[in-house]
């Protein structure tokens, strides 16, 4: 391991929702070029973690810090985090009737850049990413997530990932609800995006997406904290034995938090 400084650090993070503590002191560090997978059963705090990293107003950070390129983003509004280079691929993307994808995407890209993106350049980049995701051009004429199938919604998230080129992408159960072909295309989209300069945090229940997107590190999330970390082989252990063997380990951790 080289001495590259971390790109993204979650430092003893504690998050509560409606006064209930869900994330209980979670620490994680991603270096440029790394893919980390956080795996956990239902109710382990996966979605709370994902949403709070992006600054959802419903989630209250009660302790710890989140840093992007060494700068704390914990106090930032979601739009500031996005412009700083943080991205969340939503598990359940919201529909916004009447707003076309193409208009939304252009505004989002301009926001990320801090200046208006010229139409011609936008078209070029858009067509390029659409092609890679095997998406029809007509797709962007539709209203944002409005009437999209589950697979289309996830593909639209990956389209945004490809266009916005964030430094850190948090993928919240991107594999859920996808058939095998869609899973392959979405995974390829993530792999194409991935480079030595960015990092990916895959949050997932199942191991199957990890067959397509190779993680450098796998962490087991139970009771709002990481109870085990390892390399890609840890995912296979989980696939074989389930989360059960890890559950016991956590009770004391949760109690002491």
């Amino acid at each position: 391991m080289t001495a590259t400084p971390p790109l993204f650090e979650i430092d003893d993070l504690r998050v509560s929702v409606a006064d209930k503590q869900i994330v209980n002191g979670l620490t994680l560090s991603l270096r440029p070029g790394e893919v980390h997978a956080i795996m956990g059963p239902n109710g382990s705090g996966k979605s709370t973690l994902a949403n709070s990293l992006m600054g959802h107003p419903r989630y209250t950070v009660t302790g710890g810090d989140v840093r992007l390129q060494g700068e704390s983003v914990a106090e930032m509004a979601p739009d500031e985090r996005a412009r700083a280079g943080l991205f969340l691929a939503f598990q359940y993307p919201t529909d916004i009737p009447g707003v076309s994808m193409i208009n939304f995407l252009r505004r989002a890209m301009s926001a990320r850049r801090g200046e208006e993106i010229p139409v011609r350049e936008f078209r070029q980049v858009l067509n390029d990413v659409l092609g890679r995701l095997q998406m029809d051009e007509q797709f962007v004429r539709r209203y944002v997530n409005d009437g999209f199938s589950g697979g289309e919604k996830k593909r639209a998230e990956i389209l945004q990932l490809g266009l916005l080129q964030p430094l850190v992408a948090v993928m919240d159960e991107t594999d859920s609800g996808l058939d095998i072909d869609a899973l392959r295309i979405v995974s390829e989209g993530i792999n194409t995006f991935h480079s030595d300069d960015n990092a990916i945090l895959l949050i997932t229940h199942y191991q199957r997406i990890l067959r397509y997107v190779q993680p450098d590190h796998v962490h087991v999330l139970i009771g709002g904290r990481i109870v085990e970390s390892g390399d890609a082989s840890l995912a296979e252990v989980l696939e074989r034995d389930g989360y059960e063997p890890f559950m016991e380990r956590t009770s004391e951790g949760v109690l002491t938090s």
């Binding site: 739009d79 996005a82 412009r83 939304f104």
Partner: protein, 471 residues
């Protein structure tokens, strides 16, 4: 000015850009108050035929006999004795822009009106300043085809028989209290006649401006689309911000003869001290299409329900309505469709926005008479509130006396959702930009039915209104 019409403080939209007024010494300004004498004086000034004078006086009796409506908004602050019923700033209706008095030209320059005509975006332009039409002009080729577009007063002088044949045939003088008032004291408005088969392919526009304080504007518009003709009429309205209230009470009558196609677009942007109480109604005959596009952004209180009476088989009526109410505003808008013949169709699409404590309502009536079988109608009204202290109501009434019909109705009321905001902000859009985008999306189905330049204007006005309310 003696006593203000309303003691309540006016809450001008801080971004309202047309709130200036011109210091004009009016040529003629009748004293405040309403009487037979005032009505007679108006008729005298206009040198009208006797039948019109009688009609006015009869309407005044109807007005006096009728109680104030007690539904919709609060009308109790209107003091009919504290209003100037006739204010004339100039003595001519000009057809050359150069001849319009400079101070009036300045006003319209500030509003950008002559520019649009110069650029050829319009087939004709009319402008009303207080009580009188000050300018009317129409493209020569349309004039040659027999299209008439002039002030209603001028039409009464030049085409008295045509006016007499249709005047009050769609909205009788005793239709409602404010239609009666308009019939008694009407002044100005547009008169349009399109001969059979003539298509006017770009819009005619009229622009209404109230300049004087404590005045009532009572324009009367009459549109006759002869068989197989086509016309699009657009009106815009603004007024200065005064500490007391003005009254705008127009009547618009439209006759869509067989096979004609009429579209009437309003972008209403009165200042927040105007009571806007308007009666608009069209009759549509065999296979005619009538569309009201009604955008309401301004006024203190608006009560307006554009109506289409479908008189013969194959007629189609459509109302697209947007109301956006901000601080201190109540917009009670909607639509009325009457299926009086078999195999007629209609669509009502309404979008109400309320923000910053504003209140908007949809009030609609869909009526199908017994025997009007094979009718189809679809009503959709959506309301969006931008914050907790704004209000939205829907009052959809349906009176269906015929069984063999196909009626669809859908209504939604929602708040700008946290999840929608979070989604857009997670992509880097500021809260303000995200809210605007959600609102633009909400009104999109109506905006996209407007000609491009009006769509741009409508979006701009809504955004302007929102700027004060997003914090």
């Amino acid at each position: 000015m003696t006593t203000p019409a309303s003691e309540a403080p006016v809450s001008p939209r801080s971004e309202y850009e047309f709130g200036f007024h011109d210091d004009v010494e009016a040529l003629v300004k009748l004293p405040k108050g309403l009487s037979r004498e005032v009505v007679n004086t108006i008729s005298d000034i206009k040198e009208e035929p006797e039948w019109m004078r009688k009609l006015r006086l009869k309407a005044l009796d109807h007005f006096n006999a009728r109680p104030m409506p007690e539904w919709g908004g609060d009308l109790s602050d209107i003091d009919f004795n504290d209003i100037h019923y006739y204010v004339r700033a100039t003595d001519r209706d000009e057809s050359a822009w150069e001849d319009v008095p400079d101070y009036i030209k300045d006003t319209y320059d500030k509003l950008g009106i002559p520019e649009a005509e110069k650029q050829g975006l319009l087939a004709g332009v009319g402008a009303q300043y207080d009580s009188e039409v000050v300018y009317h002009n129409i493209r020569e080729d349309l004039e040659e085809k027999g299209v008439l577009f002039l002030g209603t007063d001028q039409a009464l002088r030049e085409y008295p028989d045509l006016v007499k044949e249709y005047f009050t045939t769609v909205i009788p003088p005793n239709d409602n209290k404010f239609a009666a008032l308009n019939t008694a004291v009407w002044s100005g408005g547009s008169f349009i006649y399109v001969p059979p088969g003539v298509h006017v392919d770009i819009p005619l526009q009229a622009y209404f401006r109230i300049n004087s304080e404590d005045m009532g504007q009572f324009e009367r518009t009459l549109i006759i689309a002869d068989e197989g003709s086509q016309i699009h009429y657009v009106e815009g309205c603004t007024a200065p911000i005064y500490s007391s209230d003005s009254l705008h009470s127009a009547v618009v009558e439209i006759i869509c003869k067989a096979g004609s196609n009429v579209r009437y677009t309003t972008i209403q942007n009165w200042s927040n001290n105007v009571y806007n109480l308007v009666t608009k109604r069209a009759t549509a005959y065999r296979d005619a299409v009538m569309t009201w596009v009604d955008g309401n952004l301004g006024s203190k209180l608006t009560m307006k329900y554009p109506a289409v009476y479908l008189m013969e088989p194959g007629a189609h009526g459509e109302v697209l309505s947007i109301a956006s109410a901000g601080q201190g505003q109540q917009l009670d808008a909607g639509a009325k469709i009457v299926h009086a013949a078999p195999n007629t169709t209609s669509v009502i699409t309404s979008k109400s926005l309320s923000m910053d404590g504003g209140r908007s309502s949809y009030r609609g009536l869909l009526k199908v008479y017994d025997g009007a079988d094979g009718c189809r109608s679809n009503v959709r009204c959506d309301a969006l509130m931008l914050d907790e202290h704004s209000r939205s109501d829907t009052y959809p009434v349906m009176e269906i006396d015929e069984k063999k019909v196909d009626i669809g109705h859908e209504a939604t009321v929602s708040k700008v959702g946290d999840e929608q905001l979070f989604y857009l902000m997670a992509r880097g859009l500021s809260e303000e930009e995200a809210t605007k985008m959600i609102v633009n999306g909400f009104v999109e189905p109506i905006i996209k039915s407007l000609p491009l330049e009006y769509a741009v204007e409508m979006n701009r006005l809504i955004e302007l209104q929102m700027e004060g309310s997003i914090g």
